[in-house]
Symmetry: C2
């Protein structure tokens, strides 16, 4: 049976030593002193470890069942959901006006990592609700906000996002679901939506569906899409009343996240209420996209983190073979797996990715806080640019690392008994939903790079260049271990950007053929930057004789690993990018 | 519902144009004229497509069930197994003395690819039998061969390989199963074996288990392991007689290959017969290791092949978005996925890998034929060297590519309905069994490189260097597209070998830390070599005005893709290798 322990020490290192949240000039951050933060993370970590993690395998094994139109969640889910709700864990960064705690997003992100690692499928019920909450909070009328938000903050009512239809996912302009205006100002929504996470279940009194649909007579394609609130039970006097004409067609059989009910939802003239403006549904949906996509990136490395924790424990416990340089456990029948260099290589890949990804994600969450709480356009530009990188790179690598962790177990990793297969199967979805990773790459190269005249990518380059300048002459060890590798990687990134500029205008395919590699190249540079910054923070604390020297030295060694063994991927990504469109586009479709 | 079509045209290109099997100076190859080969592959391809492929999803969904000690295979498996058996497909390369057809191994490999792609779990019943057949054929007494082989050639009796125990897989020296000599020359075998593929089932009259066990009083560790034949039913007068004391403890729940019964086998004083010499069980087991591991490498790319076929069909069919350079399907609501550069990038990754892997595997099979049929020590040395590369590299990449194919489907790839998840889940096991890939890397770097004074790796380098010399001045296009990239990649491989020589003696961890990267580096060079050789073959046929020009031009374009976009990975692998032991070994186990 796998287990999960919240990595509070490492989370605190990122929040305090890297991001220095207590000192950041962001409204609400002034309360984030070390003790408060640590108390929150210790407490949420306990709930994750003791309440939701033990249900992870249960959720995978039992799955969700549709019986007589009612979705039943796995045994224990309802009680756990009550416990999470009652602990206030669903309300952390919600608006105090509606019962939230008003904490910064960066805190919700750190707590979210724990819950996502402990039980991804379970945590999605809250995650989807938070997304729907954000949309109503940003675009709802006062009345809508008063009606729905207080109940959604507590997850007494949960939420869903309905975008995909059987024939369209990425290309939502093809959507067929329609919303017909009624005399009372409401709409009748008719159509079928698929892949609706947390679409229905038995853990809340009501489900508030946000549904994209077209109002007849509106503009063609994506410009004619509006967003609607469609409650499972129509709200009357603040209480769930009459059953709406929305039903579950079926629950999908999936590769993983079995604990979450992924539903086909049928809307048969269901009563809906316009959210935001007519035909501006995509815009409304996309206001919270940065957060939603960051949340999915987080799922990627969170699965890698929990998989790593278990693989590490197994590698220390399982005796197999001997250290080639001499027995390390001479009195035992064999040495533990962790003595073997290739097992270490595998574990260090995971560890150095997880810690770098954590830093990158929290840093991104802080940018979102800065954008929202300081109304900082530069921060908004930067996080918009990097959102596809966080989502695409962290979920690709997260799955790769969960798979690598599974490998440590040998045959025991393939059977379901040890739970390692589930981490990989669950992690797999994060590469797909909330915009498949190829679409993230397209967003990055086709849209974000050139946004606002390219000033956000310039700001990113400036940030890296400034850091490299600032750290000049710091020490030979820092230079060799961190500064030089970062410099080389960022040069590769700039060269790739230059290639796109020189070739993308005359042939868009020359840029788009390299988009996926560019997303990964960018991700490596971001993690390289985070590692170099963490190295500075660790060195500074060591120099001050302050903090846990073993932890800080391990941090530095882990960073050196990333810089020496992961970051060099940038050269190969650049080489692929510079090969341009020809290799990719040469074949006619018929000759594949 | 996914489908499979045997890629006979491409298989024939490899066999005829690349390997020129009809002209090869290997006994038995003289009968492999184009017509005969094509007839075999067309016929087996039909069986794979029509008989076994349709049962792939069935096997995954139903799995195998243990009821009252009896294993029931999925619906339709028995009838299909009868059809495969009756078609003679289990006997292709078996010894005519025992009812086999005596065809070269290369033919069995090409047919095996089809059956493995069509239904991997199903094909394993035959595959394990073939492994057991080979062991008995190589090490059995005349009596043992007469007793078991004719029935195993036809798969009327199937076979298994019993190595792993709960506490030991890689490190078989820790084995506890014991075999006590009896007065009649037989042994009583007692112990538990796990992960026994095709361990028991309802498709054959008997199951012939090959079991590794220790004879009490023998040498400690791996040197005291012997191999035994333990039939499910004791054979009496050529017929299955009394039930032996071997039983199925349970069937494992696994991530994939559900159609194969992976059993816990309990031996409770079961009657066994020594196969080969006392205490030489590992040697006996390992005589067929090259074939077995090549067979698993084949499974890796076979799953990638069938996944690719389905992803390609979906990419041509699914309409989503518009070609950025102008609509390709202006009358439809959107363009097919295949117009998008990143979808093509993904498909070309798969296609160029599959075709390169096919060439490499058949080339390896031909080496095995040369080693066995010509008693060619050089060929034997070369295939021993490359076996861990075939196994490790092709299964890692095969899984990666099956996952990539799944990605083409977006959300539809994650639900089980479309079958893409199964390809990835099934492919995953090939990275683990028959020696986990980390063990393959260890075998390559720790054993094979230095074997016989390093002469096999020297022979490989000479082969590449000779090819580069021979093709000098061929054409500018060949130079730029194939020769130069191969030269650069092989230089990286040589540099890595040099690094190991210079550092591995004084610090074995410096070599072993880079073993996994070396295996991949080597794999890329092998596929690069195969692609360059295929390019020569394709160019020659085009120049001769001979053959299907569209096919040959597509082959060249696919090769150029591999050389331009996959082969550059060698530089990153080299960089990692040259970072040596420090990054990998720096942390104490307690500081992970």
């Amino acid at each position: 049976m796998p287990s999960y322990t919240a990595p509070v020490k490492d989370q605190m290192f990122v929040l305090n030593d890297l991001l220095k949240v207590g000192e950041a000039d962001i409204p609400g951050y002034e309360d984030l002193d070390r003790e408060t933060l640590e108390a929150i993370l210790e407490e949420s970590g306990k709930v994750a470890r003791d309440v939701t993690a033990p249900l992870n395998v249960v959720g995978d094994t039992e799955g969700c069942v549709l019986e007589n139109g009612v979705v039943r969640t796995p045994k224990g889910f309802k009680e756990a959901f009550d416990a999470v709700r009652e602990g206030g864990w669903t309300a952390l960064d919600c608006d105090p006006e509606y019962g939230g705690q008003g904490l910064p997003y960066v805190v919700a992100t750190a707590v979210g990592e724990q819950f996502s690692a402990a039980n991804m499928a379970f945590n999605m019920y809250q995650g989807l609700t938070h997304g729907a909450y954000s949309a109503i909070h940003a675009h709802g009328t006062d009345d809508q906000k008063q009606t729905y938000l207080p109940k959604m903050v507590t997850c007494e009512w949960t939420g869903t996002m309905n975008l995909t239809e059987p024939h369209c996912g990425t290309d939502l302009g093809l959507m067929r679901t329609k919303a017909e205006p009624q005399a009372d100002g409401s709409y009748k929504v008719t159509g079928q939506k698929i892949f609706i996470s947390a679409g229905d279940h038995d853990m809340s009194e009501n489900v508030i569906h946000l549904v994209l649909a077209k109002i007849p007579g509106g503009p063609e394609g994506i410009k004619g899409v509006s967003l609607f609130i469609v409650p499972k039970f129509i709200v009357e006097d603040g209480q769930p009343g009459a059953r709406n004409a929305v039903s579950v067609g079926k629950i999908e059989e999936k590769m993983g996240i079995h604990g979450n009910s992924t539903c086909v939802m049928n809307y048969d003239g269901a009563t809906g209420y316009l959210l935001g403006e007519e035909h501006k549904g995509m815009r409304a949906m996309f206001t919270m996209m940065n957060e939603a996509r960051l949340g999915v990136g987080l799922q990627g490395y969170a699965q890698s983190e929990v998989a790593y924790q278990n693989a590490l424990a197994y590698a220390k416990d399982r005796l197999q073979g001997r250290d080639v340089t001499g027995a390390k456990n001479p009195d035992g029948p064999a040495d533990p797996l962790i003595v073997h260099p290739d097992i270490r290589r595998n574990l260090m890949d995971q560890k150095s990715f997880n810690e770098g990804a954590r830093a990158f994600t929290y840093w991104g969450a802080q940018m979102i806080d800065r954008a929202h709480r300081n109304d900082d356009a530069k921060a908004m530009g930067l996080i918009s640019l990097l959102t596809p990188v966080i989502k695409g790179f962290l979920t690709d690598k997260g799955f790769e690392m969960a798979t690598a962790a599974q490998q440590v177990y040998g045959g025991h990793g393939y059977i379901e008994e040890w739970g390692m297969s589930q981490f990989a199967r669950d992690a797999r979805i994060a590469m797909i939903y909330e915009g498949a990773n190829g679409v993230q790459a397209l967003d990055l190269v086709g849209r974000k790079l050139a946004q606002d005249g390219g000033k956000h990518v310039m700001a990113f380059f400036a940030m890296v260049t400034d850091f490299i300048k600032e750290t000049k002459g710091r020490s030979d060890a820092f230079d060799a271990g961190f500064r030089e590798p970062l410099k080389a990687a960022s040069k590769d990134l700039q060269a790739a950007g230059m290639f796109f500029m020189q070739n993308g205008m005359k042939n868009p395919n020359a840029a788009l053929s390299g988009s996926y590699d560019f997303m990964h190249l960018f991700g490596h540079v971001c993690l390289g930057l985070m590692w170099a910054k963490m190295a500075v923070a660790a060195e500074d604390r060591l120099a001050a004789g302050d903090g846990d020297a073993e932890f800080l030295n391990a941090k530095l060694a882990t960073g050196r690993y990333y810089m020496a063994r992961q970051l060099p991927m940038t050269a190969t990504h650049l080489k692929r990018i510079e090969s341009g469109a020809d290799p990719v586009m040469a074949l006619d479709a018929d000759h594949f």
